[in-house]
Symmetry: C2
Subunit: 215 residues, 2 copies
């Protein structure tokens, strides 16, 4: 007797909801339609249940966003720390980190306030980076500030990804902003994507600067 037949016969169906199924459906909805249209009602509909059913498995929408975050963290590549030197590894890891959250910007405020102990994968990532920085010879007291600084830059840069391409359009104020207008024109001439260019430019400077602080 199939599950559908059993349901038709009136037998109470077995639970169809669990963390895995909910999270995967949520991630699919988010990837397809973005976070603006991601609501508990739509998620419920896509799972074929009523919205209230979700609350037998998840405490709040914020909780669910944390589940998604934990899933998304798996996409960040930390394997470079085993292969490349510290500078190259930091550059590649940070780039991977930024690109992942550029696709999940609304998760950033959620993570920023989340104790790392609630996210095993985040904790594992921090451990890997901390180990690499210690091996490099960085002072113990500077490891956390270094990680936090990198993460702040990464999150800020991920958000910048959402900026419109003409964000620096100064057409109507050219006379009042001569230096900035010229700088915008010069950047446009030499590079395709301002956000990517600025990220790599800043990341290189930041990593170099952070690794230069030896005690």
């Amino acid at each position: 007797m199939s599950e559908t037949e059993a349901r038709r016969a009136g037998r109470p169906r077995k639970a169809v909801l669990n963390r895995e199924r909910i999270t995967e459906h949520a991630l699919e909805l988010v990837s397809d339609d973005g976070y603006e249209s991601f609501t508990m009602q739509r998620l419920a509909k896509s799972l074929g249940v009523s919205p209230s059913a979700l609350y037998n498995h998840v405490d709040s929408k914020n909780d669910l966003l944390q589940w998604i975050q934990e899933l998304v963290m798996a996409d960040i590549d930390t394997s470079v720390f085993d292969e490349a030197d510290i500078k190259e590894a930091l550059l590649q890891w940070a780039t991977s980190y930024r690109n992942v959250f550029a696709r999940h910007i609304p998760l950033i405020p959620v993570i920023a306030v989340l104790p790392v102990s609630d996210s095993p994968r985040t904790l594992g990532m921090y451990e890997r980076v901390a180990e690499a920085l210690s091996d490099y010879g960085m002072a113990e007291s500077e490891v956390v500030p270094t990680i936090v600084a990198l993460e702040s830059f990464i999150f800020g840069s991920a958000m910048d990804t959402a900026a419109p391409h003409d964000i620096f359009d100064t057409r109507n104020h050219q006379d009042l902003t001569p230096h900035f207008t010229q700088a915008v024109a010069a950047q446009r001439r030499s590079k395709l994507n301002t956000s990517d260019d600025s990220f790599q430019h800043g990341l290189s400077a930041l990593v170099t600067g952070l690794l230069a602080i030896r005690s």
Copy 2:
């Protein structure tokens, strides 16, 4: 005849709402109770009008947040660019910038997507920084990436300000994260506030790194 008497007499009162009054009331509400409880209904109540009345003056809540942003930008100190050398000026300006938006975190996603031409004060600030960087001798094509990188770090750091103090509590995973656990302990021993410490640490590295790129 006072305005109140006129109203009592049934004469149509003159408009009580305008951008200035709305924005100032909004800023006061936000400063007192935070952004979570900042709603159009509450703002209307504090102004003594019905919620729908606001929409005769503002197109949307997002618009209103942009008005607040423009007001808040006035708090950022750019005067240092006239007094100190470029490095010191960038450090002080960035610190001022971060501290202002640490008190207005929910504005960050609004600004990040806002064309600068919609915010005169932001444009003015960019012009001042661009001028200083040009005077310093930075290549034209690197001025915008430098500003964007600094801003990304500033916004990310402002958000980090909202993190709980025990965000790095690894009590339950000490054995799995030896390096990170030790780094957290070391940082705690030497510094009071992780967020402030990390910001200054990263800012110093970033500014040094950005100014070192000479062509």
